[in-house]
Subunit: 132 residues, 2 copies
DNA sequence: CCGAATCCTGATAGATACTG
DNA sequence: CAGTATCTATCAGGATTCGG
């Protein structure tokens, strides 16, 4: 597996472009956006905003633009009033959707085990999950 | 699939614990750490630091602790001098490794398509994908 | 009204230095 | 060796604003 700069794709190497892409994909909202578009086909901006609870307009726009430049979604503006913007997955986006859906599914399936592990790990967690 | 609080697991719902877990898993370093532990079995702190280029000590520690409380890795301290700490995947961690590895593999496989899309999208920045 | 850009502020990642 | 403490740069989120 060799990419255009002639080096092997290796996500463990900080320099490899794979790393940047992985960082995008691993982003908080990417999983949910791609997943939503996979199940619904084409969605409008506000449909996505409503579907993905808790996302801000800023992050939604920002993530969608990143997905667009990476070639995962296409953005179609209908010059109507009120404005109408459609987002849909490209073939590349569809192929990305597979591992991404697998990840969300895994999480939903194993949430019980994880919550049990959390309870067992720390019998008294007040706040601040990280180290501080 | 119903979790302990009696609600269906739904990552699209902001309240669902699945969301928090997904945020962890989708974190920048989690993918690389779990993946490294999968291939190497057991690794020491500095082995992980060396393997995963670009990770800071802070983020490595923080991510490892999160993985530990979520039940994905076990942390074993050998009371020797110098200190010796081993990290290894739990069975739950192993099962998580499958979708995570799939994601990294996908990225490494499709990096060509993505870079092509990026070049086509805008003759400008690769990483500054945010809106400005 | 929808989609998005801007400004402001609190949280978070990262670099560096220090410690048992 | 394996972290911790601290400081700083960066980024996410909220509110507001704007253009069609």
């Amino acid at each position: 597996m060799v990419e255009s700069s002639g080096l092997p794709a290796d996500a463990f190497c900080a320099k490899c472009p794979t790393r940047q892409v992985l960082d995008h994909i691993a982003g908080k909202w990417t999983v949910l956006i791609v997943d939503a578009l996979l199940s619904d086909g084409t969605m409008r901006y506000t449909e996505l905003a409503r579907r993905i609870e808790g996302v801000s307009q800023k992050m939604l726009t920002q993530t969608l633009r990143a997905l667009e430049t990476d070639g995962f979604v296409t953005r179609t503006v209908h010059p109507t009033s009120p404005p109408h913007v459609d987002y849909t997955l490209t073939p590349l986006g569809h192929s990305l959707a597979e591992p991404i859906t697998a990840l969300r599914r895994w999480t939903e399936t194993h949430i019980n085990d994880i919550e049990r592990a959390r309870a067992a790990a720390r019998p008294l967690p007040p706040t601040g999950a990280g180290l501080r």
